[in-house]
Symmetry: C2
DNA sequence: CTGTTATTTCAGTAATTACTGAAATGACAG
DNA sequence: CTGTCATTTCAGTAATTACTGAAATAACAG
């Protein structure tokens, strides 16, 4: 590996982090390299930069494409494939969330649903179903929220993030006012 | 493995899912088993239920304890260790988020910060730093939001989730009113 | 077609990670 | 102390996953 030291640290870190996710070292490194590269790279440049085999690069790029984390580009008069990552980090975040949901959450939801359909045959099963139902409920809440929020454009999402928990305080204040109004009216009525 | 069929499906699914996270199959299965079990289990019961070695159970429970996903309980007049998962699924979610942040996000943030401190020695490095800075900014935003939201009690968090993107619509409405007010005032003034 | 260059596939191997059984440690009762 | 039961450690092995080089496929130019 022969990269500017600053880039190398980044690439190596992503490689290690990769293993903590499901992703493997090489895939992480390639992603990091493409992410910081000023222009698209072709497979041989990646081989050169990371010192790994051509076939490994090919397979890892496939993996990254399956994750939609990498874009294929073609330069005029050059039939090699060049690769980049999307520029917009928010877009990257969205993609990552979407893919992880698809791979990690959706299958679980469908297994839970299936099990919850079945008739429990014992107390143990009944209890298990209750627990699974709690889990199912939580996951559904989270995914509904996610489906809702993912539609937002970047600046609105940013606003939402900046607000964070403040929103609930606002709402509680509003609720108090509303309930005051209600109790006043109900008093008038009663 | 000799479990009620319904429990078995759940346990097996979690085992497979485990591999898609960093967690391994056995750890996933043990967690799932404890999660649906009506009362705490000791190591030998887990060995029995899952058909794996005693030592594997011991190591996997350690891993789960390191993740704070499992609680150690003692029954009176019994010196064996018994294990459960926390009852409250929201609490489990919090723990999971906290641990994943600690392991997957914090190290990246600190590497990024370190690299961004350094003086770039070339155009390539300058460009790389810019990209890293974008990533750093995004992650900081997300973690700030998370730090903020994680303090909320369950019912407030639930409210926040239920609202989802509606909040931004409310805010935009508010902003329009405020900016109307402002432009009115500035007209009066000018 | 033929030759050239780019990419992919895949069987074999290397590296890593998971799991086991045996032995060590610990915790306690008598 | 000694014996008993529970848990942990760890070296060896099994299983899985990652990686390579060689061969196959593909995409084109002439």
């Amino acid at each position: 590996m022969n990269l500017p030291p600053l880039v190398q640290s980044f690439v190596l870190h992503f490689g290690e982090m990769g293993s903590r996710w499901g992703i493997n070292r090489t895939v992480g490194q390639i992603y990091a390299l493409l992410y910081v590269s000023p222009e698209p790279l072709n497979a041989d440049q990646i081989v050169e930069a990371l010192g790994i085999s051509r076939s490994n690069v090919s397979m890892s790029l496939r993996e990254l494409q399956a994750w939609n984390l990498v874009l294929l580009k073609h330069l005029p008069d050059d039939r090699r494939d060049f690769f980049t990552t999307p520029d917009d980090v928010w877009q990257i975040l969205r993609t990552l969330a979407e893919e992880r949901k698809k791979r990690e959450v959706d299958p679980t939801l469908s297994v839970l649903r299936e099990i919850l359909m079945q008739q429990p045959a014992s107390d143990a099963e009944r209890h298990a179903q209750e627990r699974m139902s709690e889990m199912h409920g939580l996951i559904e809440r989270l995914t509904t929220w996610y489906e809702d929020v993912k539609q937002l454009e970047t600046d609105r999402l940013a606003t939402l993030l900046t607000l964070g928990a403040k929103v609930t305080k606002l709402l509680e204040a509003k609720d108090k006012i509303v309930s005051l109004g209600r109790s006043k009216r109900s008093t008038e009525k009663g």
